[in-house]
């Protein structure tokens, strides 16, 4: 399993534990209700989507001999943007509307932008790998 894929998969597992940990804390009466939407996205974006991204980078047909998994720098950028966006959301969303309101609002918009760019980068990099078998000869 390539290094980049290991990072995606292990990070997704961490988010799975974090989301379930939050829901456990909430059930025990310790969770903050303002954190609910962020926790849901730890599960669906951090765990489910990140695991799919990692497995797709690993398993989809190769793009070319030079770039078997698409552009490796884009895969790393997607990883960084997705996780930065998610962590910014976790920090900012429960605090939005509290002082300093401008800071939390700015971080939340940054979070939205990071995650959107991650989705776009993944699709652009993986699109060319969704293909049939190569024809032999020419």
């Amino acid at each position: 399993m390539p290094t980049i894929v290991r990072w995606y998969v292990r990070t997704s597992l961490v988010y799975l534990v974090a989301a379930l940990g939050f829901w456990l804390a909430q059930a025990a009466g310790w969770g903050s209700p303002g954190f609910g939407p962020a926790a849901l996205h730890l599960f669906f974006v951090g765990w489910v989507t990140q695991l799919i991204f990692g497995m797709a980078i690993w398993m989809l047909p190769t793009l070319s001999r030079e770039h078997p998994r698409g552009y490796e720098a884009v895969n790393w950028a997607v990883y960084g943007l997705l996780n930065l966006g998610l962590l910014l959301r976790v920090v900012a969303e429960p605090r939005v509307g509290t002082p300093p309101a401008g800071l939390w609002a700015t971080l939340l918009i940054l979070s939205a932008g990071c995650q959107w760019l991650a989705g776009l980068g993944f699709v652009l990099n993986a699109w060319g790998r969704v293909r049939g078998p190569r024809r032999q000869g020419g």
Binding site: F44, L60, P61, I109, A112, A118
Partner: protein, 132 residues
């Protein structure tokens, strides 16, 4: 990768973009109460990402990689094709039901459930030891 998987995975990618785009608008609205229409797409955001992206991607990959029957065959693929058509129609009926009326929402759920059931019936026999 067979044609049906290529179609479903590419469609899943497009739903991912639609779902993430609408999610970004909703998150922006939480920050600055703009754009005013952001929350109108909340149901679409969920539908695109749960059924259009996650479910469709998983089914498309399953169609590709599950063990094949003897002779490298995927069997009668018509139920699988119908399953993907029904799933995609279902997503759009559910997303557009606020404008099409409540029966469209029900029809959408029927199509989604029917599509998934068709795929399960199709794929059941392919869940087997290699070469069996």
């Amino acid at each position: 990768m067979p044609a049906l998987s290529r179609w479903s995975v590419r469609l899943a990618f497009l739903y991912l973009l639609l779902g993430f785009t609408w999610g970004a608008l909703i998150l922006t609205h939480k920050a600055v109460q703009w754009p005013p229409f952001a929350w109108l797409g909340f149901a679409a955001h969920q539908e695109f990402l749960i059924f259009g992206w996650t479910t469709q991607f998983a089914l498309g990959i399953a169609y590709w990689i599950l063990p094949r029957y003897r002779g490298n065959q995927r069997g009668d693929i018509r139920p699988a094709v119908l399953a993907f058509v029904a799933l995609n129609l279902g997503v759009w009926f559910v997303v557009l039901h606020p404008w099409l009326g409540a029966p469209a929402g029900l029809l959408g759920r029927v199509l989604e459930a029917g599509g998934v059931l068709l795929f399960v019936l199709y794929a059941w026999g392919r869940v087997k030891p290699a070469g069996a």
